[in-house]
C-alpha cells in the first residue's frame, strides 16, 4: 500500500498524461455534442410560408388533396421532400388546411366526400369535415396549418411534421395558452 501512495516521477508523469488526454478529449468532444443536436431548432424555425397554388384549384365547399415541397429540402430526400395536406375551402377566402397526419399516431388520413369524414387507416381515428374529432383513439381534431391568401394563391405556414409537440398552427397555440 505504501508503495502505491508514493509519488514517483513516473507515476506523476503518467497522471499528467491521463489529465492531458482527458482535457484534449473533452475539448474535442464537447463541441461535437452541438453537431449531434444540430437538428433541434426553436419552435417555428423550420417553418416558412409556402404556396399551395392558385385558389382556383380549390372549389368552394370542397376538400381537396394538395402537396408542397418542404422548404428545408435536401438533395438526398427524394420523394420524401414532398408533403401532402387536405385543403377545405369553406367559402370565399376562408379555408381550413389540415395536416395529412392523424393526431393519434401520424398515419395519413383519407377524405371521403360522400360521408364527409376523414378516416385513418391505422387505428380507425375519424374526423368531421371541419377537422373535429369524431371517433376513435385521437385525443384531438386534425392539425391545421396557418394560411393566408396572397395574389390569388393559397399560402400555408409549414415545414415540419405536425405532432402533439408541434401542432402546426401558431395562432391556435397562443389561444390555448391564453385560455
Amino acid at each position: 500500500m505504501s508503495d502505491g501512495k508514493k509519488v514517483t516521477r513516473r507515476t506523476l508523469l503518467m497522471k499528467i498524461g491521463i489529465a492531458i488526454n482527458a482535457i484534449v478529449g473533452v475539448a474535442i468532444t464537447v463541441p461535437v455534442i452541438g453537431y449531434l443536436f444540430s437538428p433541434v431548432k426553436r419552435k417555428g424555425a423550420y417553418n416558412k410560408w409556402i404556396s399551395l397554388g392558385s385558389l382556383s384549384q380549390f372549389p368552394e365547399g370542397q376538400t381537396r388533396l394538395a402537396e408542397f415541397v418542404n422548404p428545408f429540402k435536401r438533395p438526398q430526400d427524394g420523394e420524401t421532400a414532398k408533403t401532402p395536406c387536405w385543403v377545405r375551402r369553406v367559402g370565399g377566402n376562408t379555408f381550413q388546411v389540415f395536416a395529412i397526419n392523424c393526431a393519434h399516431l401520424g398515419c395519413p388520413v383519407r377524405w371521403f366526400p360522400q360521408s364527409e369524414l376523414f378516416m385513418c387507416p391505422c387505428h380507425g381515428g375519424v374526423y368531421y369535415a371541419n377537422g373535429d374529432r369524431a371517433s376513435g383513439p385521437p385525443e384531438r381534431g386534425l392539425f391545421q396549418y396557418d394560411y393566408k391568401v396572397v395574389g390569388g394563391e393559397l399560402h400555408i405556414n409549414a415545414g415540419q411534421m405536425p405532432t402533439l409537440a408541434n401542432e402546426a398552427m401558431a395562432q391556435k397555440e397562443k389561444l390555448v395558452c391564453l385560455g
Partner: protein
Amino acid sequence: MSRLKEVYNWFERRLQLEGPIKEAALHPVPRNTASWWYVFGSAAMTLLMLQIATGILLAIIYVPSGGEAWKTLDQLNHQLYLGWFLRAMHGWGSNFMVAVVLIHMAQVFMFGAYKFPRELTWILGVFLLLMTLGMAFTGQVLRFDQDAYWGLGIGASIVSRVPLIGGPLVHLLLGGPIIAGATLSRFFALHVFVIPGLMLLFAGLHVWMVLKLGINEWPMPGRVVRRETYIQEYNEMAHKDGVPFVPDALWKDLFFSAGILVAVAVCALLFGPYGPGGQPDPTIIQTAPKPDFFFLWLFAVLSYLPPEMETPFVLIAPAIGILVLLALPFVAGVGEKSWHRRPVAVLVLITVAVSWGIFTHLGVHTPWSPVMDAWSGDPLPQKLVHSETALERQGAVVFQAKQCRNCHSVGGLGGQRGPALDDVATRLTEDQLIRQVLQGGGNMPAYGKNLSPPEVNALVRFLETLKPANRPAAVDASQEAQAQLGK
C-alpha cells in the same frame, strides 16, 4: 502431417491461444445441462453472425439515401444474382433472431438462471434483447418503403408525447423537421454501426460470464440458491457429476444452430424477401401502414388504449417493464430455481405469452381499422337486399355510398370497427337506429350533418330489413307496454 504440425506450432508459439481455448472448451458442465433446453443462447449467437454476414453483403449495394434506398432494394430483389435471397435471409434471420432471443429469455427465466451469481449475465441479456428489438425496428426503417415512412411517423408521434422535450426529441429522431433523407442516414448509422457494435461487446461479455461462472445447472425442487454456499455446491456438481462442454454439450448446440440456419434458408427460399412495399412517396396516401410482426402487439395495444391513457401508458409502461426485468435478479436473486416451486413465475410467463399472442393476432387482423375500400369494393350480398320497397333499396345505396361498410361488415365483408350489421334489426328499434345514425356515439361518428332527412329515412328502412327471417325485430319495451295497456 509433421509439416502441418510445424506450421501449427509456429503460429501457436506466437499466438498462445491453445491454453485458453482448451480451458474454455473442456471446462466441466453439470451433466444434465447438456440438454436440448440449453441450445437457444448459442443459436442466438449464430443468428447474430448470420445477420452480420448478410448485412455486410447487403451494404455493398444498399445506398442509405432517401432518394435511392428504395431503388437499390429493388435492384437487389430483381437485378442482382442472389440479391433477393440475401435480403430474404437477412429479413428472416431477423425474425428468427427475435424469436430465438425471446425463447432464450423465457427459458433462462423458467430455469432461474438470473439468480446469484448470474445477475449481471441476465442484465446484459435484457440489454441484448432491447438491442435485438432496436435492430428489428431500425432495419424496418432501412427498408425505406411506405410502411417504413409511416412507421417513422408513428415513432415521431409517440416521441412527441414526451412532456416538455417532445419537440426537440422529434427533431433528434428524424434528424430534421420531417421524415426525409437525414432520417434514413441516422437510422443507417444506428443499424449498421452503433447497435451492432454494442451488441458484439455485450454478447462477448455475456458469453465470457457464462464461461467464467459456469452454465446454470438444471433446477431441482428443493435445491435452494444461497449466496454463501452456491459457488461451492456448483463447483462440486460440475466436477463430480460433470461432463466436458466439448463435445458432450456442444454437439447439441451445433445441431440446433445448423437446424436454425436451414430453417432461415428455407423460409427465405419459400417466402422471399420482405418488400420493399410501395415507394416512400408521402403523397401516395392510399396506404395502410403496418409494422413488422414483432411490433404488431404494440400496434394493437395503441389502438385499444383510451385516449387519456395513451400518453402515460406509452411513455411509462416500457420504462416500468424494463426496470422490472433489470430488478428481477436483485429482488429474487436467491431461493428456489425450479419452476415446480415458482408458481408466480410460471403464471407471469404464461400471462405475458398469452397476452402477446392475443395482441399479435389482433394486430394481424386489425379489427379496429376501417377497411378503406370496403364501401366501393365489397358488394352487398344479394340475399340481404331482400327488400320489397324502392325506399329500402335506396337505403341500401345510401348504406354503401356513405362508407358505412368501412366500419361495419355485412355478410362477412367490410370493416370490423363497429358491430356487424347482419342482424342489426333484432338489436335496435327504428328510433334507436335513427338516433345512432344521427348522433353517433359508442365510437361511431355522428352522421347528422352529412345525411339529408330522406337519406336517413331510407337508410333506417334498409337497416330494419337486416335480420334473419326466423328472428323477431327489436321492440321498444316501454312502447310495447303502453300498447298493451291501451288494449
